[in-house]
C-alpha cells in the first residue's frame, strides 16, 4: 500500500514535470523581450513586442508572411545591426543581460546566439572548415586535437557525423540540401551557444530532409534554447513546446503550443490556424 502511494506520487511528479517540459511554463525565461519596436526607415515593422522565451525547449514563431517574425528573430542576435536603415527600440535580455547595452560586444553575443538561415548557406569550404570556423575565430580550441573533437561532437549532435566522417575535406556545398542545413546547424552548435535561432530552416528542404531536421531539433531542445520561425503550422505543432503568433507586426498571442492550436484566445489566431488567411 505504502509502496503504491509512493508510486502514485512519483507518477504525479513525473507527469507534472512532463507537462512543464512540454509547455515550458515552469522553466525560467532565457530570452526576455519587453516592448520591442523595429523600424526599417519609416516603416514600423514590429510593434511593441513583449515575450518570454524559456530556457531549454523550442519556441515557434508563426504568422503570415511579412508579419515580422524574421525581424524579431534577427533582433535577438542583433543581425539587424547590419541593415543600415533598421532601428530597434525596447529591451531584450538574455540571462538578464541587456543585449542592446552599448558596452556589450556584439561579436560575443552572436557567439552565444547561433543562427540557422532559411536557405542552407555553408561556406564553400570543406565540411571540417565549416564547422571549425566558429571555434577558430572565437579561440575555443587550444590545439588541433581539440578542434577535431569539437568538429566531431558538433557533427554528431547534428546527426551528420556518420554521413560525412569519411569526407570531411569535401566541400560543404557538395552535400545535399538537407545535409547542408544540418551542417549549418552543426556549425552553429560548434561554439556551444545558449540560444539557437532558426529562420524557416526547412522551407528549402524536401519532406524527408525536413523530417530529419525536425528530429534533430527535437533532440537538441534538451541542451539549447531554440527559437524557430516557421510558416508551417504542422511543423510548429510537431517541434515546439511554445508558440507565438505574429500578425502585422504585433505579437497576437503566445502560449503552450497545444493551447494555441487547440484553444486560441484571439480571433486572428483562430482564423490563421484554421487557414482562413495566411
Amino acid at each position: 500500500m505504502e509502496n503504491r502511494a509512493v508510486d502514485l506520487s512519483a507518477i504525479e511528479r513525473i507527469e507534472a514535470a512532463r507537462t512543464a517540459q512540454i509547455t515550458g511554463a515552469a522553466r525560467p525565461a532565457k530570452v526576455v523581450a519587453e516592448g520591442v519596436d523595429v523600424y526599417y526607415g519609416a516603416k514600423h515593422a514590429l510593434k511593441d513586442v513583449s515575450v518570454d522565451v524559456p530556457d531549454r525547449g523550442v519556441m515557434a514563431f508563426i504568422g503570415p508572411s511579412g508579419c515580422g517574425k524574421s525581424t524579431f528573430l534577427r533582433c535577438i542576435n542583433r543581425m539587424n545591426d547590419t541593415i543600415p536603415s533598421c532601428r530597434v527600440t525596447g529591451k531584450i535580455t538574455i540571462d538578464d543581460q541587456d543585449i542592446y547595452d552599448p558596452a556589450l560586444d556584439v561579436v560575443q553575443l552572436r557567439a552565444r546566439v547561433g543562427m540557422v538561415f532559411q536557405k542552407p548557406n555553408p561556406f564553400p569550404k570543406s565540411i571540417f572548415d565549416n564547422v571549425a570556423y566558429g571555434p577558430r575565430i572565437h579561440g575555443l580550441s587550444t590545439n588541433k586535437t581539440e578542434l577535431d573533437q569539437i568538429v566531431q561532437m558538433s557533427l554528431q549532435k547534428a546527426g551528420l557525423w556518420e554521413e560525412v566522417k569519411d569526407r570531411l575535406q569535401d566541400s560543404g556545398t557538395s552535400l545535399s540540401g538537407g545535409q547542408q542545413q544540418r551542417l549549418c546547424i552543426a556549425r552553429a552548435i560548434a561554439v556551444s551557444p545558449d540560444v539557437i535561432l532558426m529562420d524557416e530552416p526547412c522551407s528549402a528542404l524536401d519532406p524527408i530532409a525536413t523530417a530529419k531536421v525536425e528530429t534533430l531539433i527535437d533532440e537538441l531542445r534538451s541542451q539549447f534554447c531554440i527559437i524557430i520561425v516557421t510558416h508551417s503550422m504542422q511543423q510548429a505543432a510537431r517541434v515546439s513546446q511554445r508558440t507565438a503568433f505574429f500578425h502585422l507586426g504585433t505579437l497576437v498571442e503566445e502560449g503552450p503550443t497545444q493551447l494555441i492550436f487547440t484553444n486560441p484566445k484571439d480571433q486572428r489566431t483562430q482564423d490563421y490556424i484554421t487557414g482562413r488567411f495566411g
Binding site: 536557405k119 566558429g134 552553429a188
Partner: protein, 542 residues
C-alpha cells in the same frame, strides 16, 4: 460615342475566331520572317567581323614571318695578329676595340675578287651587317688564343642582303655565251667586241621585247627600267649599257683578270630579270651578293637576336628585349600599385562605406575615370610626376604610375562586381557565427571574389600592356638601345617600340614592326586566355 464603343466590344467568340483567321496566319508568317531576318543579320555581322579579323591577323602574321629568320654567311676569317694586336699586346681592351670589320672585309675580298673603286667597295661593305663583326669580337675576346688562326664564323648579313636572300632578289640567271668576245680593258667603262656576232641573240631578244634601237648608232641602249644584262668574262663582270650584234659597251662591276678574247662557254651572258630601278639593291650589290651566294656560305637561321637584343638603328640588329623588359617593369609597378589599392578601395566601397552622397559621388567618378581618354592620364603624369615631383623621364616607374591611374578604375569596378557577386548569405553565415564584419570580408567574401578580381586585373593589365598614348607624354618614346635594368632607367615599352619602328622606312623594320605586333598580340591573347581560364575554373554556382 460611348454606345458605339460598347457595341464593338469584342466577345470571346470573336477573339477566338480572330485567332484562327488568315490574318493571324499572316502574322505568324511575318514573325517567322522577322526572326529569320534577325538571324541573317546576326550571322552576316559575325562573318564580316570574322573576315576582318582574319584578314588583319593573316596580314600581320604573314608580314612578320621573315623577321623571325635571319641569314648569316658562314665564312672563314683569318684572325690576323697585325690587325688584332698591332703592337703585340693581347689585352682585353685592345681586343675589344680592334678593327674586326677589316678582317671580315678581307674575307669577303677573297671570296669576291675584282673589287675596284669606291662604288664596289661600298657595295662590298653593305653585304654584311655593321654588327657582323660582333660575333667575331665575342669569340676572340673569349679566347685570345684564336689569334693567328683561321676560324669559321657566322657573319650576319645586312638588312638588304638579308632581304635579298629572303626573296627580294634580282632573279639572276646565266647562259653560256656563243661566239668570241674581246674586252677592251679590265676595269671602268669598256667595250666588248665580237667578230662573229656574239651578241646577235641578245639583240634579237631585246628587239622582240620591244626595246627600240637608237636612231643614230643603231645600238640598243639599256636602262634601269629594263632587266639588267651582264657579261661574265675573264673572272670579272661587265654590266652592258648598249648592245649591237657585234659589240657592246658596259661598266665593269667586278674587274677582269685580263683583256684577252674569250669564246664559247668561257664567257657567260647573265640576266638580272628584275630591273635595277625596281630593286633596293643595285647591280653592283647584286653582283657581290650573288658571288657570296655562289660559295654556299649563306645560311638561314632563327633570329634569336630579335628576342635578345635591344633597339638598334640597323634593322637586322634590332630586337624587342629592351621593350619587353620595359613593359615588364612598367606593368610590375602598375600591378603592385593597382592590385592592393584597387581591391581595398572596392572592399571599402562595397562593404564598409556608408551609403551617402559622398560615396555616391566617388562611385560615379570612378566610373567616369574609366572612360577618360588615356592620353589625359599621360598629361596628368607629365604635369604631376615629371614636372611637379621631378621623377625621371622615360622611366618605367613613371610609366607604371600613369598606367596605374589608368587601370585603377577598371580594377575597382571589376573587384566591386566580383564582391557584389558573392551572395549575402555567405556574409550572413559568417556574421551569424560571430565573425566581425572585417573577418567576414577577409575570410569569406574576398577569397570568393578573388577569381573575379584576378580576371579584372589581368584584363586591366592587358589593357595597360597595349597602351601607348599616355607613355608618349611622359617621354617613353625615346630611342633606347640599352636594356633597362631598373625602374628609374630610361626605357620604352612594346607598343611604343612598335610605334617607333612603324615610322621607319626600311622594309626590314616594317617586318620587325609586324613581328613585334605579333609578340604583343601573343602576350595579350595569353593574358586574356588566362583570364578566361581563371573565370571558368573558379566559376561558382550558388
Amino acid at each position: 460615342m460611348t454606345d458605339a464603343a460598347h457595341s464593338t466590344l469584342p466577345t470571346a467568340a470573336l477573339i477566338a475566331s480572330r485567332r484562327n483567321s488568315p490574318a493571324n496566319a499572316a502574322l505568324v508568317k511575318r514573325r517567322y520572317a522577322a526572326e529569320r531576318r534577325f538571324k541573317a543579320f546576326g550571322i552576316g555581322a559575325l562573318i564580316l567581323t570574322g573576315t576582318f579579323l582574319l584578314a588583319l591577323l593573316t596580314n600581320i602574321v604573314g608580314k612578320s614571318i621573315p623577321a623571325f629568320f635571319e641569314h648569316t654567311a658562314n665564312l672563314e676569317v683569318k684572325l690576323d695578329p697585325a690587325v688584332l694586336a698591332p703592337d703585340g699586346k693581347v689585352d682585353p681592351a685592345t681586343l675589344k676595340s680592334a678593327d674586326y670589320a677589316s678582317l671580315t672585309r678581307a674575307t669577303l675580298m677573297s671570296i669576291v675578287p675584282g673589287i675596284e673603286g669606291r662604288a664596289a667597295r661600298k657595295s662590298l661593305s653593305g653585304v654584311l651587317s655593321s654588327g657582323a663583326a660582333d660575333e667575331l669580337r665575342r669569340r676572340v675576346v673569349a679566347d685570345p688564343s684564336l689569334i693567328g688562326q683561321t676560324i669559321k664564323v657566322p657573319l650576319l648579313l645586312s638588312d638588304d642582303g638579308d632581304l635579298y636572300m629572303k626573296g627580294q632578289d634580282a632573279g639572276a640567271s646565266s647562259v653560256p655565251g656563243i661566239g668570241t668576245v674581246t674586252p677592251s680593258d679590265i676595269k671602268g667603262s669598256i667595250t666588248l667586241t665580237s667578230t662573229d656576232g656574239a651578241f646577235k641573240s641578245l639583240v634579237d631578244d631585246l628587239t622582240k621585247a620591244g626595246v627600240p634601237k637608237d636612231a643614230d648608232t643603231g645600238a640598243i641602249v639599256l636602262n634601269s627600267n629594263l632587266p639588267s644584262r651582264l657579261v661574265a668574262i675573264n673572272g670579272g663582270l661587265v654590266k652592258l649599257q648598249s648592245v649591237t650584234p657585234d659589240g657592246a659597251t658596259g661598266n665593269v662591276l667586278l674587274s677582269l683578270k685580263g683583256n684577252e678574247a674569250a669564246s664559247g662557254p668561257a664567257w657567260q651572258q647573265t640576266t638580272y630579270s628584275v630591273p635595277e630601278g625596281r630593286r633596293k639593291t643595285n647591280d653592283q650589290d647584286v653582283a657581290i651578293i650573288e658571288k657570296v651566294k655562289e660559295t654556299g656560305a649563306i645560311q638561314k637561321g632563327i633570329n634569336w637576336r630579335f628576342f635578345t637584343s635591344g633597339d638598334s638603328r640597323e634593322p637586322e640588329l634590332a630586337g624587342i628585349r629592351g621593350a619587353l623588359v620595359g613593359s615588364a617593369l612598367t606593368l610590375l609597378v602598375t600591378l603592385v600599385l593597382c592590385l592592393p589599392i584597387g581591391v581595398l578601395a572596392a572592399v571599402y566601397l562595397e562593404e564598409f562605406a556608408p551609403k551617402n552622397r559622398l560615396t555616391d559621388i566617388i562611385e560615379v567618378n570612378i566610373n567616369n575615370l574609366a572612360a577618360v581618354p588615356s592620353i589625359v592620364f599621360g598629361l596628368l603624369g607629365l604635369a604631376v610626376f615629371l614636372n611637379f615631383m621631378g621623377l625621371p623621364r622615360s622611366a618605367p616607374l613613371v610609366g607604371g604610375l600613369v598606367l596605374a591611374l589608368l587601370v585603377l578604375p577598371t580594377i575597382i569596378i571589376a573587384a566591386r562586381a566580383a564582391i557584389k557577386a558573392v551572395p549575402p548569405s555567405i556574409r550572413e553565415a559568417a556574421i551569424g557565427l560571430g565573425a566581425s564584419r572585417q573577418q567576414a570580408v577577409f575570410h569569406h567574401v574576398l577569397p570568393l571574389a578573388m577569381p573575379g578580381i584576378m580576371t579584372g586585373t589581368i584584363i586591366g593589365m592587358a589593357h595597360a600592356l597595349g597602351e601607348t598614348a599616355p607613355l608618349l607624354m611622359i617621354g617613353m618614346i625615346a630611342f633606347i638601345v640599352d636594356i633597362p635594368g631598373s625602374l628609374t632607367q630610361a626605357a620604352t615599352v612594346l607598343p611604343v617600340q612598335i610605334y617607333l619602328w612603324s615610322d621607319l622606312p626600311e622594309v626590314a623594320f616594317q617586318q620587325r614592326t609586324a613581328a613585334a605586333i605579333v609578340v604583343l598580340l601573343a602576350f595579350l591573347f595569353a593574358m586574356n586566355g588566362a583570364a578566361i581560364w581563371l573565370r571558368s575554373k573558379f566559376e561558382r554556382r550558388w
